[in-house]
C-alpha cells in the first residue's frame, strides 16, 4: 500500500515510493539520509524537526511524507551550497555562540529563516515569540536571539553588532 510522490528537496527533484504513514522527518532522515533535521520530542513540541515546506516553517514530525507530494522542501543542508560560504543565519549562530550541543540548532535556523523573511527587522520580543515553537535545553536562548538579530543585520546589508563578550 505505497504511494509514489514527487518532492523537491533543496532544489533537487526526488521520486519516492513511500508508505502513507511515513513521517516527513523520517523521509528526510532515513530515506534521503539527510540527518541535519533532528527528532527531539516526536510530540510536536520542541521544533528540532523544523524545515520549510513551500517556504513555510513546519514541524516535519507532524506532517506525512505524502503531504509533500508536488511540493518543495528546504532543510538545513539546503541553506548554503556544499563547501560554500555559510548562510548569514549559520554564520550568526557561529559568531554569537548561539549553540552548545547543537541539537535544536537546525530547527532554530529554519524557523528563523521564515521569521526574517516575513519580518526582516524584528524586535527582540518578536524574535522570542517567533521562536516559541523551538525549545533549547542548553543556551537559555539569549545568544540564539543575538544570532538571529546579527543575521538580520547582515541580510539587511547593515553593519553587524560586535560579537565581543560584554564585561560587566
Amino acid at each position: 500500500m505505497t504511494k509514489n510522490i514527487n518532492v523537491t528537496v533543496n532544489g533537487t527533484q526526488h521520486t519516492l515510493e513511500v508508505e502513507p504513514r511515513l513521517l516527513l522527518v523520517h523521509m528526510i532522515r532515513e530515506v534521503l539520509n539527510m540527518t541535519g533535521t533532528h527528532i527531539g520530542c516526536d510530540t510536536s513540541s520542541c521544533g528540532a524537526c523544523t524545515i520549510l515546506l513551500d517556504g513555510k516553517s513546519i514541524k516535519s514530525c507532524t506532517v506525512l511524507a505524502v503531504q509533500a507530494n508536488g511540493k518543495s522542501i528546504t532543510t538545513i543542508e539546503g541553506l548554503a551550497p556544499e563547501g560554500g560560504p555559510l548562510h548569514p543565519l549559520q554564520e550568526g549562530f557561529k559568531e554569537n555562540h548561539g549553540l552548545h550541543c547543537g541539537f535544536c540548532t537546525p530547527g532554530m535556523i529554519m524557523r528563523a529563516h521564515e521569521l526574517l523573511e516575513n519580518n526582516p527587522n524584528p524586535t527582540e520580543d518578536e524574535i522570542r515569540w517567533g521562536i516559541a515553537g523551538n525549545l533549547c535545553r542548553c543556551t537559555g536562548y539569549n545568544n540564539i536571539v543575538k544570532a538571529i538579530q546579527w543575521a538580520g543585520c547582515k541580510m539587511r546589508g547593515e553593519e553587524t553588532p560586535s560579537t565581543e563578550p560584554e564585561f560587566v
Binding site: R21, K59, V66, R111, L115, G133
Partner: protein
Amino acid sequence: MIAQSFQYESPGSLQEAIELLNKHGEDAKILSGGHSLIPMMKLRFATPATVIDINGIPGLSYIKEENGIVHIGALVREAELEHSELLAKMFPLFKDVTKLIADPQVRNMGTLGGNLAHGDAANDHPAVMLALRASVIITGADGEREVPIDEFFFGFYMTAIQQGEILTEIRLPVPAKGTGSAYHKLERKVGDYATAGVAVQITLDESGVVTAAGIGLTNVNPVPLRAERSEQALIGKPLSDETIALAAQYASEDCSPSSDLRGSEEYKRHVTGVLVKRMILKAAERASN
C-alpha cells in the same frame, strides 16, 4: 512513534471527498492541518483505516465579507487568521487568540475548520466562536446546512458533523458599531493548552449600556461553554464594577473544570473569574476606540 498503517486518499474536489467519506464510513478520518490528528495517530490513540487529505481541495480557503457576514473557509490556516487585516479590524480578539495557539510552525498548518471540527473543549477557537455568535456550514452529499455554534458541540470529540459530512465554512456576523472583543488564556508555558481561557465580545451604546455580549470559555468544561448567566448579567445595563463582578462570579460557578496537572478545579474556577473580568474590561476598552 509510528502510526498504524492506513490507506491515504487525496481528493481533488469536495464531492470526491464526500463520496470517499460515505464509502469508508467510520473507518475514515479527515486530514486538514493534521496537528491534532497526526499526533494522536502517532500515539495510536487514533487508528483510522483511511485518511482523507482535504488540503488539495480548491475553494476552501478565503476570508471575505459579504452582506454583513464574514465568511471564512475551513482550510484557512491559523497563520492566515493571525495576519488578516480584515479580521484584525472587526474582531481584535483574533490577534489575541492566534498568538496563543501553539506556536508559529503549528499555526502554519493548523486550520480554523479543523480546530472546530475536532470537537475538543481544550482548543481555543470554540470559545471565540461562541463569543462571536458564529455559525458553521457543514456540507454533505445532500448539500449544505448551516448550524449555529450553540448547536455544534455535543461532547468530547463530538460535534454536529455527521458521517459523510465536512465542515466547509465559518460565518461571523459583522459586529455593530461600538463593539470590542478580547481573548486570553492562562497557560503553564508558551504553546500549552489553556488552564482557563476566556473570549469576550461586547457592544456598548453611546450611554455606555451593554446592548450585546458574548462570552465563551476554554477548557473549563467538558464541552465549550457559553457563560450565559454572565452575558445576561451585563446586557441591558451600564457596564459597571458590579455587573462585571457578577459576570465573573457566574462564569466561575457555571463552568465545570476538571482537576489535572494544570490546576485544581477550585483554581481553574478562580482563574476563569479573573479572566472574565479582565477580558470584559479589555473588550469594552476596544469598543470605545
